[in-house]
């Protein structure tokens, strides 16, 4: 999967995890893919949920380490 932009949000908590993700995705073109790195579990559930409520497509949510996750989102609108 081609990732167009990556956002490292290690150390960030809600609501900044979603707010910073939204600010980046607003700068991207439709169809582009954003990979978000998170280490805060509540955000791992809520960032994808909020992205879907925003109309974006969540491609994957994977645990990639001990207390480390990636959320992959395609910009749809």
């Amino acid at each position: 999967m081609q990732v167009d932009r990556e956002l490292d949000l290690k150390g960030e908590v809600c609501p900044f995890t979603f707010v910073k993700s939204k600010l980046i995705i607003e700068q991207m073109e439709k169809g582009q893919v954003l990979r978000i790195i998170l280490d805060y579990q509540p955000s791992v559930e809520n960032v994808p949920k909020s992205m879907e409520m925003e109309g974006q497509e969540v491609l994957a949510v994977n645990q990639i380490g001990d207390k480390l996750w990636e959320v992959v989102v395609r910009k749809v609108k």
């Binding site: 908590v13 809600c14 609501p15 979603f18 805060y40 579990q41 509540p42 955000s43 559930e45 809520n46 949920k49 909020s50 409520m53």
Partner: protein, 100 residues
């Protein structure tokens, strides 16, 4: 009516009793009731009365960040949410009651 109650006070407060009474009245009226627990309101999730409200048809949400900060493991009948989720609930509701 779509009613949203935002509960930000603990289960030992007078607001808790107010919330339960309002919620029960609302459910009797067949309102579409949502309750969002945030701040110290997330402690209410452990109270037996909240489970009863869920069983009677109230939709329950909580701020996952606030629950994590307080080391609470929320029950499965409540849905994990966020400030963004709350903003969507407010926009979707006809009346909002905020108990702080």
């Amino acid at each position: 009516m779509k009613l949203l109650i935002i509960m930000a006070n603990n289960p030992y407060s007078s607001d808790f009793n107010t919330m339960v009474k309002l919620a029960e009245s609302s459910l009797k009226r067949k309102d579409k009731l949502s309750i969002f627990f945030m701040g110290n309101g997330v402690y209410c999730l452990t109270h037996e009365k909240i489970k009863e409200l869920s069983e009677k048809g109230a939709k329950l949400y909580y701020c996952a960040h606030n629950a994590e900060q307080r080391k609470i493991t929320p029950p499965t009948f409540a849905e994990s949410s966020s400030m963004y989720g709350l903003s969507k609930l407010i926009a979707d509701s006809e009346k909002v009651i905020h108990l702080v």
